[in-house]
């Protein structure tokens, strides 16, 4: 069955389920439908020649979730989702980026399946999630570099423990997509990690605390490394720090600042960048910082403007190489859930990077973005609702 047909079937199943939610004595699940459509006109200016894309629909996605209470304090959930990968990617026309199950209670979350890997700790206000992938994510060292999705989606098995509502400790093992992957390959763990973070639940954002999030994570990719045999010596290690500060947590004129730094400890023998694999393995520091202004009218977002800057340096290389990126964007809400956006992106690469990914690139994008989330058969409360957080948790 082709992937397109599979997704069509998925939709039919979904709507059948929605229509038949009465009748049997079984437990009816909660059904969540999430959809996000992004379509943009892209104008690219680079030394290699200008280009334009009439409609770039990448990152458009559909998510379906089912959730119910289990026989004890736990809840179980299934999430299935697909998205349209970037133009020109060598992936299938539809990528099932989310297929996972989750079991959780008040303080524990277990997830297993295909979903967003733990390559970044926070999200940034860019038009698409991979607009600054060189700066915002730990790059997948097993990838060919062809598809940004290789860095974002993979198989993951994860356990999270929550302390005092706001502290989260997660341990995870991942299978990141491998370049040479084919039918008979090994799909075992090829990355392991730990993360610890403090974060204020979304429902408490109007408590107006300055510190919204701060976290650290340690990721290791179980790479092979010529000349080394110890598992720890062979592994590619990265340390990530992140923070989100509500610098002006005002309900009308809201300002926040997001920052993330990734220290890729790298392999000292990588002195030159000759291909993508070297970029992922060279010692590097990547930082990405966004300043965001959000104007909220009638208690809803109305206008957002953000300025972001990314910098990546490779200190060990014989030929000094670095990357800079500036993204300026603005989104204006023309209706509930519906935005128009304009984004300017400029990236400059120096040293060895010039030959691999080009010297610089300027991109202008004009986009429509429509994102919805609809829940049917609501039956129980979320862990992080105000009732559950501030008035006693009801399992």
């Amino acid at each position: 069955m082709s992937k397109k047909r599979t997704s069509l079937c998925l939709l039919i199943i979904l709507f059948t389920v929605m229509l038949c939610n009465t009748g049997s004595a079984g437990v009816t699940p909660e059904i969540l439908l999430g959809a996000r459509g992004i379509s943009s006109l892209n104008l690219d200016y680079s030394p290699g020649g200008d280009s334009e894309t009439v409609s770039d629909i990448s990152d458009t996605s559909l998510l379906v979730g089912f959730r119910q209470k289990l026989y004890n304090r736990y809840r179980g959930a299934l999430v299935i989702g697909f998205q349209f990968p970037d133009e020109g990617s060598d992936l299938e026309p539809i990528l099932f980026h989310q297929v996972f199950l989750r079991v959780e209670d008040r303080t524990n979350i277990f997830r297993i399946g295909r979903t967003r890997v733990r390559s970044a700790m926070i999200e940034f206000p860019t038009l698409r999630d991979d607009d600054a992938i060189y700066f915002t994510d730990i790059l997948n060292p097993f990838s060919s570099g062809e598809d940004a999705e290789d860095n974002q989606y993979g198989s993951i098995m994860e356990a999270t423990r929550i302390f005092g509502q706001r502290y989260q400790l997660s341990a995870y093992g991942e299978h990141l997509k491998e370049e040479t992957e084919n039918i008979s390959k090994d799909f075992g763990f090829n990355a392991l990690g730990l993360s610890f973070q403090y974060r204020v639940p979304e429902s408490q954002r109007w408590n107006r605390e300055i510190l919204n999030q701060i976290g650290i994570s340690l990721n290791t990719a179980l790479t092979s490394r010529p000349g080394y045999s110890g598992e720890l010596d062979k592994a590619l290690k990265s340390i990530t720090f992140s923070t989100v500060l509500n610098i002006r947590p005002d309900p009308v004129h809201f300002w926040d600042l997001r920052h993330q730094s990734i220290f890729n400890l790298g392999f000292s023998e990588v002195k030159n960048l000759s291909d993508y694999s070297d970029i992922t393995r060279a010692r590097s520091i990547s930082t990405f910082t966004s300043l965001r202004y959000l104007y909220r009218k009638l208690e809803r977002p109305a206008l957002q403007a953000a300025l972001s800057y990314g910098y990546k340096a490779f200190p060990d290389l014989s030929n000094n190489s670095s990357q800079h990126q500036v993204i300026a964007n603005s989104f204006y809400r023309i209706g509930e859930n519906f935005d128009v956006g304009l984004q300017l992106r400029y990236q400059k690469n120096s040293g060895d990077l010039k030959t691999i990914i080009g010297e610089h690139e300027t991109e202008v994008q004009f986009a429509f973005i429509y994102s919805i989330e609809q829940l049917w058969n609501s039956q129980f409360d979320d862990r992080e609702s105000l009732l559950n957080l501030e008035h006693g948790y009801i399992p």
Binding site: K69, Y71, N72, S203, Q204, W206, N207, R208, P251, V252, K297, L298, E299, G335, E336, Q374, S378, Q379, F380, D381, S385, L386, L387, E390, H391, G392, I394
Partner: protein, 394 residues
């Protein structure tokens, strides 16, 4: 008890209608007293009876295994019963301990209009942390109730209702039907999903609004509060989108109750009415919910004696009465047919818990002097001493 066990219990009840009997035990009867509103003791200040009410977010168990968050007066659903004599000077201190707005409306009472509890019409809402003092003379006689009048659809079914009984030393009903015991029953209906989702949303909104209000940044369009209808119309002409239009709000369904309570509890936690042969009891019925109830008592014709608290000119007999939202009815049941009799909504959709029969507002009239030998349903070997907790005839 987890949810699965609960469902099995429910199925067993409807199939066999048998439960180990303890209806006649003294402890059961004592516990049953707690299933009626507790009376609030007044402080006496000169010739004024002073009552203190507060509202807070509380958790209530509607039936074994099912808890929900409620807005509760004095941590009780229903709120405590206020009982005064006709003509008493009454003062009620109402303290808002939640982060939401509230008022109290005195339903059926002839209070001065500034005490009527309708926000923006008779008073400003009682905002978080604030206290408001209601003062009135207890008029008229009869069964009345009080409830929150802010976000009424939500706040009432969230638990903000309580009985208010105005007595007369020479009670006209007691003269006609001498009785010793009386019971107050407050009916309500709850869409728990609506409650949970709306309270959460309101709590979030209020955190945001309170900050703006404290900083003097009240914004009419943002808060959807205007000084006049003309002002709203003017705002709409200038492009303001009121919250009810479809491009501002998803077509949210109206609340669809699927839990039905008597005194804040659903069957099998509903209260029991105890009676003795030859005794008359008075039952005060208050519909503080949004649903109409057709209450039917098995094996008896009762006397309808008061309607909206007012004694009817001529009591008349019936066995099914319509209790509309906002209405209070007083009935006298005469103990003339001993046994265990169910008393329930004859629209049996409301005799369900979460869609599962039996449940909801199902309750029983129990003759506590029922002879031992009559308590057995089926004198089967090894099953003696089993009595129906509730007889289900449907």
């Amino acid at each position: 008890m987890n949810r699965r066990d609960f469902l099995i219990t429910g199925a067993a009840l409807s199939a066999a209608t048998l439960l180990p009997g303890s209806l006649f035990a003294e402890t059961t009867k004592r516990k049953n007293l707690k299933r009626f509103p507790r009376q609030l003791k007044p402080e006496i200040e000169g010739n004024v009876k002073v009552f203190r009410l507060f509202v807070d977010i509380h958790q209530q168990e509607l039936a074994p295994g099912l808890k929900t968050h409620t807005l509760a007066f004095n941590n009780q659903v229903p709120g405590p019963e206020i009982r005064v004599n006709r003509g008493d000077r009454v003062k009620v201190y109402f303290k808002n301990r939640t982060e939401l707005n509230h008022t109290i409306h005195w339903h059926g009472m002839h209070v001065p209009w500034r005490m009527d509890g309708v926000p923006y019409i008779t008073q400003m809402p009682v905002m978080p942390g604030q206290e408001f003092v209601y003062e009135f003379t207890a008029e008229p006689y009869g069964t009345h109730f009080y409830h929150c009048h802010w976000g009424t659809l939500l706040h009432m079914q969230a638990g903000m209702f309580g009985s208010l009984i105005v007595e007369e030393p020479d009670d006209p009903i007691k003269k006609l039907f001498p009785y010793e015991r009386e019971y107050t029953l407050l009916y309500s209906a709850h869409d728990l999903n609506f409650l949970r989702n709306e309270i959460n949303a309101m709590l979030e909104r209020m955190k945001e609004r309170l900050y703006l209000v404290k900083n003097g940044r009240f914004d009419k369009e943002r808060f959807a509060v205007f000084d006049s209808k003309e002002e709203l119309e003017e705002a709409v002409r200038n492009g303001y989108q009121p919250p009810y239009v479809v491009n501002r709000r998803a077509p949210a369904d109206l609340a669809q109750p699927f839990w039905f309570t008597v005194n804040g509890k659903s069957y099998p936690s509903t209260p029991t009415l105890y009676i003795r042969e030859g005794e008359s009891i008075r039952v005060r019925l208050i519909n503080s919910g949004t649903e109409e109830h057709y209450l039917h008592l098995h094996g008896h014709d009762f006397w309808l004696v008061c309607d909206d608290g007012i004694p009817v000119p001529q009591p008349w007999q019936m066995n099914t009465m319509r209790l509309s939202p906002g209405k209070t009815l007083d009935i006298i049941i005469e103990g003339k047919n001993r046994g265990i009799w169910t008393f329930h909504d004859h629209d049996t959709r409301r005799v369900t818990n979460n869609g599962l029969y039996p449940g909801g507002n199902l309750m029983a009239l129990v003759y506590e002097d029922l002879p031992e030998e009559e308590r057995r349903v089926m004198p089967m070997e090894g099953m003696n001493n089993l009595i129906p907790k509730v007889a289900l005839d449907e």
